[in-house]
Amino acid sequence: MADFRKTKTAMAEHIPEDVMINVLERLPVKSLMRFICVSKRWRFIISDPQFAKSHYKLSCENQTIRRRFYLSNSNRFALDSLDFESPSPLLREVRIPFEQPGIKYWSLRCSCNGLVCAVVSVSTSAKYHLYIWNPSTGFLKRLPDPSFCVYSMSVSSGFFGIGYLSATDDYKIIKPGEMLSLRANVWKKIHSPLKDLYIPPEEGIRVNEALHWFYARTPSIAAFDLATEEFRTMPLPAALKHTYYAVLDCSVRLQASVGGCLCAFDFVMFGGSIDFWVMREYGVADSWAKLFKFNVPVPSENIYESERLVVSDTSITLERANVGFL
């Protein structure tokens, strides 16, 4: 009775490659980055973009994606990477891969699926450079310079967003006046019916393959649809619409809930209470519902503060971050 498995060595049991790939798809990124050193075949499999896609998909389904926070470091050219989810959080220093002569300042503007978009201002150029970086794998790609740099010397101005469009398996980056698809690798002019000046210089919130910002003009929500590449507005809950907001003093924050719904809450700079709203049905004005209200202590420092509410199944955390230039 011939049995192919009986020819295995004493130690090892040979398993077919597709079973091996099933195992690899379940490994965390750090293990995968180590196992590219196992053999040339393993490196080939792990480096394959198809594999990265199925690995990411499985991580999302099993909710094993680790969230990391990148904090500024005393070293101008590095970040501290912090994993909140491990019981004893490990701080790891990560050097920026786009350090170059004449670098003035840089910041991470937006992120999606582990990819980060970094903006770098260099003294030798009026324009700023853009990079796509995956801090977990080290992947780095310089993007073509954007055409419009309205505030050419100021890296932080203008809204920014990055999103993934599943239909074309593509990432798109949007900034005032133009958009770039990672696949096309060219900036394309975007004609928007909205006034860019009324959109705060922040990262767009991703829900339903569209990016969202608070729009101070109406006030409402400015949404950029990644598929149609068009801007439109969406209504805010009535209770949050009654006051006029200046753009940089905007009092309404948006974010995505764990379940993928758009949420809005008032931003409280000097302490007070927060009303947290969720849009239960995307695009339906009537579906805005107030989830809860709670009190926030007065902060001790008032540099430009950014707040975020992190809502998980078991806890609600209010994060405060001091944002400044590195």
């Binding site: 498995r5 049991e13 091996m20 750090k30 590219i36």
Partner: protein, 184 residues
């Protein structure tokens, strides 16, 4: 242990006049690579695509003993244990919770070699949920292990030169550090 001939005889008895067959739960008989014969409940056997296809595709009678040459008896015992439990829990309310408790117990004292053997069997018998479960268990086992360990376990030959290996390491040097401490 009954001989195949005896077993076939007893099966013939069971599938007598149509009246009596309806009362008895249907059984499927298989023979493992090491010569042992197993009787499986139909509902459990049908969880294994390979067995299901064998009988369903050409309408083969359940009197036939299906050979499973690539499966050892101890492996089949484990597979039956898992699939029977899965079928039992499938429609229950606490399915996920109870399955998780069972899964933890199931792999508790299994060696990595055992897991690899079972992954081969799960693949051969085409039991998707069991294969995914075993692969997850293997992944959990190797995730904090170093390159050498993984090569030995899977019998993979190192085809890098020393230089090439060092180059590959530099792609992510941090991935080779803190292997015990971290809980990735």
């Amino acid at each position: 242990m009954s001989t195949p001939a005896e077993n076939e005889a007893s099966i013939k008895q069971e599938s007598g006049p149509s009246g009596t067959v309806q009362d008895k739960p249907k059984k499927i008989v298989v023979r493992t690579g090491d010569g042992e014969v197993f009787e499986l409940k139909e509902e459990v056997a049908m969880e294994m695509e390979t067995i299901k296809t064998f009988f369903m595709e050409d309408n083969i009678s359940y009197e036939t003993v299906m050979p499973l040459t690539n499966v050892d008896s101890w492996e089949l015992v484990k597979v039956i244990e898992y699939c029977s439990k899965y079928v039992e829990l499938k429609n229950k309310e606490n399915f996920h919770k109870e399955l998780k408790a069972f899964q933890d117990e199931f792999v508790k004292s299994m060696s990595p070699k055992t897991l690899l053997s079972l992954s081969n069997v799960a693949n051969y018998l085409e039991i998707k949920y069991f294969l995914d479960f075993i692969c997850q268990a293997i992944a959990d086992h190797i995730k904090s292990k170093d390159v050498e360990y993984v090569r030995e376990l899977f019998g993979v030959e190192n085809d890098f030169t020393e230089e090439e290996y060092e180059m590959a390491k530099t792609e992510a040097p941090w991935a080779h550090e803190n292997l015990d401490k971290d809980l990735y």
